[in-house]
């Protein structure tokens, strides 16, 4: 691509660093931005910069948050003794969209997969243990993808939580290959959170 403007070239280069954006799409986006009112483009770039600068991980659940404690953990109407353990922030959003869950979350930041260099210590597991040790938690729902690695993570967490007197349940229906939480439609996900099953009945099948 030959650019008449170094400024345009820089913007195209920057845009094409985004996932799924090739050079051609980046050029289309840049040309579009040139034709927008200046204040609109400024607020666009401000939104991105301030997101990057100010966003935090909630100190309790690791969800993305504007404050030290996220809006879910600080909401007095949420049931604190019920924790739903998920892999990522996207899973929190998927479950929140169902409007079926009134408890709180715990974001692990992935699942155990040594093949990808992710051992238990790379995940936010200690945070979960101390939450359970220091609070009155009654039930933990494991909403982890029904893959082999998801099953490993589920077993691992359950062993770690064994010594606490809490109920562990899961929405996973044993190991089915493929299929991630994010793609489950809202109704299915909502229903599976309500009709969750005790963890022990899964491990015995």
């Amino acid at each position: 691509m030959n650019f008449s403007s170094k400024l345009l070239e820089n913007a195209v280069k920057a845009l094409s660093t985004l996932p799924g954006i090739g050079k051609k799409t980046a050029l289309r986006l840049a040309l579009h931005l040139i034709n927008q009112p200046e204040d609109q483009v400024e607020s666009f770039s401000r939104a991105i910069v301030s997101m990057k600068k100010d966003i935090k991980h909630c100190q309790v659940c690791c969800n993305l948050s504007d404050d030290i404690i996220c809006s879910i953990c600080s909401d007095p109407s949420r049931v604190k003794k019920l924790i739903c353990v998920v892999e990522s922030v996207r899973d929190v959003m998927a479950i929140e969209d169902t409007n079926q869950f009134r408890g709180t979350y715990h974001v692990l930041g992935g699942i155990i997969s040594p093949l990808e260099g992710i051992g238990p210590s790379a995940l936010n597991i200690d945070g979960l243990i101390s939450r359970v040790a220091n609070n009155e938690v009654e039930e933990i729902i494991m909403a982890i993808s029904p893959t082999i690695e998801g099953e490993t993570t589920l077993f691992y967490l359950s062993k770690q939580l064994q010594s606490f007197q809490i109920k562990i349940s899961t929405i996973a229906r044993g190991v089915a290959f493929g299929g991630e939480l994010e793609y489950a439609d809202e109704l299915t996900l909502g229903r599976s959170i309500i009709s969750r099953v005790p963890y022990s009945s899964i491990s015995e099948d």
Binding site: I112, G119, P120, I148, E149, T152
Partner: protein, 373 residues
């Protein structure tokens, strides 16, 4: 004893960039197809393409990038089958950095493993002799190839087992580097291996009980001998549970940084008159053994699936005297009623025998990835 409902055959095959084939369309005979030509002209590649459409991978090359024609980076296979009186169109598309696509009647499969066993196949090649002479991996491959085609549960347990095993091995490497052993995670991997391993162990045991009588009968027929042959299953799980074995070997595994016990270490002992075949058999006996074990695989697949597999015979008549070739051909067409594909370097030997026997067949000469018109 032809049974009409057991029929499956490949009518048409279209190859694009498959090994030395640029683009070629083949129309086949439902019974016997014979390809002749010099070595390196593409006879084996043609048989391999047929195998690929059944098993979603090459019999010869372990890496798909070696399958595309020189200087190309993708290939496509299209097969039109008649299977239980239905037309089935199977398309395989393989491109670099993209997931392999298999379509059955234009519907892409979610999992390639769903396809295994749909179009049963047996490949016999001269290199198969290494199954007798070399390491245990090839013998396990033979077991898995047969069981995967007849039992989808076996295949999913095997894939499950292998995935957990890879994770366990990766974790053993990881803890060696970090010098910290989280015993809990190893225990969990052990538990996750237990269920598929137990299933696979029992399936392999049951399989060999059914397989050995069939195998003996075929061996005695094609060798014209009264000798008994055997395939004996050797597994550490015989008499002990995997959980126990893994826990006994834990320290060793941590030291070796890999899992040293499990069904991935099973082996088969081949015997002739109860002696190990490798040591006691002559070259001729080994050849008969190999042919018989593959034909027994054919019979086993047929009995389980109710469909005659496709039989691919790659250059197996090389260095045999004409009398023996004739008796083998006779035996094959009488007892193995699947569609047969034969490759041979002699242009007229096999086609001549088939004509003499009055068997309808297709004969084509292959020259440089083209079939001679």
């Amino acid at each position: 004893m032809e049974n009409a409902c057991l029929s499956m055959w490949l009518n048409q095959l279209i190859l694009t960039n498959y090994k030395n084939y640029k683009w070629e369309e083949f129309n086949f005979d439902p019974v016997i197809n014979c390809f002749t030509g010099l070595n390196g002209m593409g006879k084996t590649n043609l048989l391999d393409a047929i195998y690929y459409l059944s098993m979603t991978k090459s019999y010869i090359s372990t890496n798909d990038s070696l399958v595309s024609r020189f200087n190309t980076d993708y290939f496509r296979l299209e097969g039109h089958y008649s299977r239980l009186e239905q037309h089935e169109k199977i398309v395989a598309k393989v491109q670099p950095n993209k997931a392999k696509v298999f379509e059955v009647n234009l519907n892409p499969l979610n999992k390639l493993s769903e396809h295994i066993g749909f179009l049963p196949v047996v490949f016999i090649a001269p290199d198969d002799i290494s199954i007798i002479m070399e390491g245990s991996e090839l013998r396990r491959k033979f077991l898995d190839n047969t069981l995967a085609q007849t039992n989808t549960t076996y295949l999913s347990h095997l894939l499950h087992y292998n995935r957990v095993l890879h994770q366990r091995n990766a974790y053993l490497k990881q803890i060696a580097n970090e010098k910290n052993t989280d015993a809990i995670l190893l225990d969990i991997y052990d538990e996750q291996l237990e269920k598929p391993a137990t299933y696979i162990y029992h399936a392999r045991t049951e399989f060999l009980k059914l397989f050995n009588p069939v195998f003996n009968e075929i061996y005695q027929k094609i060798s014209n001998e009264k000798e008994t042959v055997g395939v004996e299953y050797q597994s550490k799980l015989d008499g002990d549970s995997l959980l126990n074995l893994l826990s006994l070997n834990k320290k060793r595994d941590v030291f070796l940084q890999r899992t040293s016990v499990g069904i991935h270490k099973d082996d088969l002992l081949f015997t002739l008159e109860e002696n190990p075949l490798k040591k006691y058999a002559s070259q001729g006996q080994r050849k008969s053994f190999l042919l018989a074990i593959k034909l027994a695989q054919f019979t086993y697949l047929k009995n389980c699936l109710g469909i005659n597999p496709i039989l691919l015979l790659d250059d197996i008549f090389d260095k045999l005297d004409p009398f023996r070739v004739q008796s083998l051909i006779n035996h094959l067409i009488t007892n193995f009623k699947g569609q047969i594909f034969i490759s041979d370097t002699h242009n007229h030997r096999i086609p001549g025998m088939l004509t003499d026997l009055g068997v309808s067949h297709l004969h084509k000469e292959i020259i440089d990835g083209k079939w001679k018109k």
